[in-house]
């Protein structure tokens, strides 16, 4: 067992892990941050996406030890301290960008990474960016719409229904 220490959502977090412990397991099982979900075992679905040192990372595809010393951001740290949703979260609610909610944390973290690098993405850019995030409920329509709305673009022209 090895001691790891990282900053998670602005707070220092430590734990004893095996070499094979995944970052997703460390977040869920050691820190009880269960908003990070595990939907596959081949790094395809993106439900486990978090930010490590500002980059979007699939936390099922990274060892906890690799994140030693890193700044990690998860879905639990996205809303304001008083609970106010951030712009992306609010856009997902406003545009019905989620149904069962399981892929949602990964979608929100993925969208945040996109908008950081590309503040006004086109529809095609949003769709291409979401290649690594699978949603089975929404058919992606309202997720794409929500992300474009979160970027400040007028989505009224998109087929509303």
């Amino acid at each position: 067992m090895t001691q790891v220490t990282m900053t998670v959502n602005g707070r220092t977090a430590s734990g004893e892990v095996e070499g094979r412990t995944l970052l997703s397991s460390f977040l869920r099982d050691h820190l009880s941050l269960t908003g990070t979900h595990v939907g596959c075992d081949t790094a395809q679905c993106g439900a486990c996406m978090v930010h490590v040192n500002g980059e979007a990372v699939k936390s099922c595809n990274m060892l906890a030890m690799e994140a030693n010393g890193a700044e990690v951001a998860t879905i639990e740290g996205q809303a304001a301290p008083d609970g106010t949703l951030n712009t992306i979260q609010q856009a997902f609610q406003d545009h019905h960008g989620l149904q069962c909610g399981f892929c949602t944390p990964g979608m929100v973290m993925s969208a945040a990474a996109l908008l950081k690098d590309n503040p006004k993405p086109t529809e095609a850019e949003v769709r291409a960016h979401l290649e690594g995030n699978i949603c089975r409920c929404t058919g992606y329509h309202n997720i794409v719409k929500a992300i474009m709305a979160a970027s400040g673009q007028d989505v009224g022209a998109i087929a509303a229904e």
Binding site: R28, D29, D41, E76, A79, C100, G101, E123, R127, L130
Partner: protein
């Protein structure tokens, strides 16, 4: 103006806040103090005889609590099938045992052989590797037609063959059938495959068993669409436990799509093992495990023939299907190719003679059961494909051919056992033609061709039967369950309301939409109404969510319970206002004596109900809580028309969906935003089936598509924005809300539109291609074009 609250308002979903902030409570988020973890050692071969299972070395591995094998479950029941189909000779279907852990034989890749309970999942997995298996491999039965052949290897030695049942619906007089086809001016025949799919909700299945020796009570946390059904099946048929000692909780569930309806061996196992080990036991499926243990969907091989007279009227339809059951009968598997498929073969058309034959086959594959649409997509696909092919052969417009044969008068008794209560298929098609801008297709096609692409337009209709019912009829057809639902409306003293419902929400937004109904009926704010679901210790006995039934069936129960509440509240109000019950009106949360300005507020009446100082105690009891069970008089019949436009790249065979439009008639609508979302999701899955998804076994029964690396899930860049119109509304005539259900329509209506569009594109490119099986992958398209 759109409404901003109540029925018809696109109220934002209240459940979103917890899902968007990581505060959802999914089953894998639940950890019970002291829990152990179980890992299932599953068969890696499709068929074999178990000679021995050596667990001694594994039992000594670090952290191992106990190892279970099939021997531990001798005397324990197996997983039951919930529907007994009677075959064409009046005999019951063949129903093999389905043990919790394999006994004697393994019958599919993924069949659980042993279960290792250990302190951690990693230790359980490590120990499983040390189990010594001696299994003699047997030939695998994979192809359904080969499975039906005389002398085929049998999946179950004790059955007479691999045929579960051979079933017929509709016209049983073969002479009538052959005469109809002999007299036809034209017959169109089509052989097709409805590809095997895996439902793939993003949350893999999880089950946590907990047990208290002190109270002899079990709790099962599970990823289920219907906790009461799980409790009933597990208690009555598998473990022999008294239901009042078992609590089943299905908390936030990350999608279901049918595959979380069924009672699975893992649920019974953790319940059993928690008592046997005297500690909580948790199981979490990996995605690969889900691929080989979740019930699969579809997998039909069909020949369909459509007979038309000289005026292009449909005069007869004959369809023969082999339907895969897999190695065991999953909970509702037997009903899917029969009563949820054969009954839909009339579609939207007045075909007077229909014969449906289905042979259900056992094979050495994962059990097959309901997946979004369940039988209805299979019916719709074959019917709408053969109609399109007929139109092409006859040189007539496919929309005109459909319109000519539409059912236009209701109620309508089909030749395949259903009575459609209402619909307006021409009106819905009008909506589609506008929504899809079909008039503009020619210009778009010219533009595509100028860019070197082939462009095709595919249109189809669908009808579905939702809210399966009534219980007395389905009982006669073989259902071993009732199909009502239940709701308890509990009004609190201060006027807020908790509604306990049998339906389960796993993405459908019940927590938002159901309160809209109750709030509208009483005239209070939606925020005053809360929905409670997913816990057998909190809710009345309900049948859960599947078959697009929640609002039509459970919502109706909720309406009936709310009506009882209002009637009682009116009596209290009448007492307070010193008036007659009959003169009390309820509007906007105020009880008023008709024709006067005397009124009392909802909150004053509810407080009086619980603080009955001034109360008609001689006439009614204090309190304000009512339950209703609702058993529908009929199915509901949502119907619609879908249009897809594709571009095909002739160089590569790649199909791109350029436009997709849906016009649906769902009857009345409570929350249009949620309905749109349901249709979008269904279309996404339908496009997945049509273009991408395929569950593939090799000849040895090896599952080749057991991860997202091999099973092509639709991604955001595989689909376009969709245009959805549900302004065509013919309310259901037999439920109090006039609603029909919208959850499955998209998945039912979209695959034929996509394939029809691809065929149209290829035909316009000069290729006389009659059909390509799904998924219409680039390689299949390219092969068809260059074959």
């Amino acid at each position: 103006m759109p409404k901003d609250s109540g029925i018809g308002a696109s109220s934002k979903r209240r459940e979103d806040v917890r899902f968007l902030t990581g505060e959802g409570n999914y089953t894998d988020d639940i950890n019970v103090h002291g829990q152990a973890h179980v890992y299932f050692l599953r068969s890696d071969i499709a068929h074999g005889t178990i000679n021995s299972i050596g667990t001694e070395a594994a039992a000594g591995m670090p952290g191992v609590v106990r190892i279970f094998t099939g021997a531990d479950f001798e005397g324990v029941g197996g997983i039951p099938c919930g529907w007994q189909v009677t075959d064409r000779n009046g005999e019951p279907m063949q129903e093999p045992p389905h043990p919790i852990l394999a006994q004697g034989k393994v019958r599919h890749v993924g069949d659980p052989i042993a279960a290792v309970v250990a302190e951690t999942l990693e230790q359980a997995r490590d120990a499983a590797e040390a189990i010594e298996l001696d299994i003699a491999e047997l030939p695998a039965v994979v192809d359904m037609k080969a499975a039906a052949a005389e002398g085929s290897t049998k999946v179950h030695d004790d059955l007479t063959s691999n045929i579960c049942y051979d079933w017929v619906l509709g016209e049983t007089d073969e002479q009538v059938v052959s005469d109809t086809f002999a007299n036809a001016a034209h017959v169109t025949t089509l052989d097709l495959v409805n590809n095997r799919l895996v439902a793939n909700p993003m949350e893999p299945r999880v089950a946590v068993g907990d047990y208290s020796r002190g109270t002899d009570e079990h709790t099962l946390y599970t990823t289920s669409q219907n906790p009461h059904v799980i409790r009933l099946l597990m208690c009555a048929f598998v473990l022999g436990l008294p239901e009042h000692k078992v609590r089943v909780v299905a908390p936030d569930v990350g999608g279901g799509f049918g595959t979380k309806i069924f009672h699975y061996a893992e649920e019974a196992f953790v319940t059993f093992a928690a008592k046997a080990c005297n500690r909580p036991v948790k199981w979490t499926a990996s995605r690969s495990e889900a691929f080989m243990s979740d019930a699969h969907g579809r997998d039909h091989v069909t020949t369909i023939e459509l007979a038309l007279d000289g005026d292009n009227n449909f005069i007869g339809l004959r369809t023969n299907t082999h339907a895969n059951m897999g190695a065991y009968l999953s909970t509702f598997s037997s009903s899917v190719p029969t009563w949820l498929h054969g009954t839909l073969m009339a579609g939207n058309y007045k075909t007077p003679m229909i014969q449906v034959n289905v042979k259900a086959m056992f094979t050495n594959t994962v059990p097959v059961d309901a997946y979004r649409g369940a039988g209805r997509p299979e019916a719709t696909f074959q019917l709408e494909r053969v109609i399109d092919k007929a139109a092409r052969e006859l040189g007539v417009d496919p929309i005109a051919l459909r319109r000519q044969n539409f059912i236009t008068e209701f109620p309508y008794d089909t030749p395949v056992a259903l009575t459609y209560d209402t619909g307006d298929y021409n009106g819905t098609m009008d909506k589609l033609e506008a929504a899809a801008d079909i008039a503009g297709f020619a210009a778009r096609k010219a533009e595509s061709e100028a860019n070197g692409k082939l462009r095709g337009l595919g249109v189809n209709c669908y009808i579905e039967a939702c809210g399966i019912a009534p219980s007395n009829i389905v009982g006669m057809l073989g259902a071993r369950a009732g199909l009502y639902d239940a709701a308890t409306v509990r009004v609190n003293a201060t006027g807020s309301i908790s509604v306990m419902v049998g339906a389960h929400s796993h993405g459908q937004g019940h927590e938002t939409a159901f309160p809209q109904v109750v709030a509208e009926m009483i005239g209070i704010d939606e925020s005053q109404v809360e929905i409670v679901h997913g816990d057998t210790s909190k809710i009345p006995f309900g049948m859960g969510t599947y078959g697009s039934r929640s609002l039509a069936v459970c919502g109706s129960a909720m309406v009936r319970a709310t009506e009882k509440i209002i009637n009682k509240a009116k009596k209290i109000a009448a007492h307070l206002l010193e008036a007659s019950d009959a003169d009390i009106e309820l509007k906007d949360g105020q009880f008023t004596v008709a024709g006067t300005d005397k009124s009392v507020a909802w909150g004053d009446v509810t407080l009086t109900a619980y603080v009955p100082h001034n109360f008609p105690l001689e006439d009614i009891e204090p309190g304000l809580e009512e339950t209703a069970f609702y058993d529908p008089a009929n199915f509901t019949y949502p119907a619609g028309a879908y249009a897809c436009e594709v571009e095909v790249d002739p160089e590569t065979g790649k199909v791109t969906i350029e436009r997709f439009a849906a016009a649906d008639d769902f009857g009345n609508i409570v929350n249009p935003m949620i309905v749109d979302g349901q249709v979008h999701g269904g279309i996404g899955q339908g496009i997945g089936q049509a273009l991408l998804e395929n569950c593939v076994y090799d000849d040895n029964g090896q599952l080749l598509s057991a991860s997202y690396m091999d099973y092509a899930m639709p991604r955001a860049d595989d689909v376009p924005f969709y245009t959805v119109d549900h302004s065509s509304q013919t309310p259901c005539t037999h439920n109090p809300l006039g609603v029909k259900g919208c959850g499955e329509a998209g998945a039912i209506g979209s695959p034929p539109a996509v394939v029809n569009a691809v065929i149209d594109a290829l035909q316009s490119g000069g290729k006389d291609i009659g059909h390509i099986d799904m998924p219409v992958s680039p390689s299949r398209v390219w092969a068809a074009m260059n074959g």
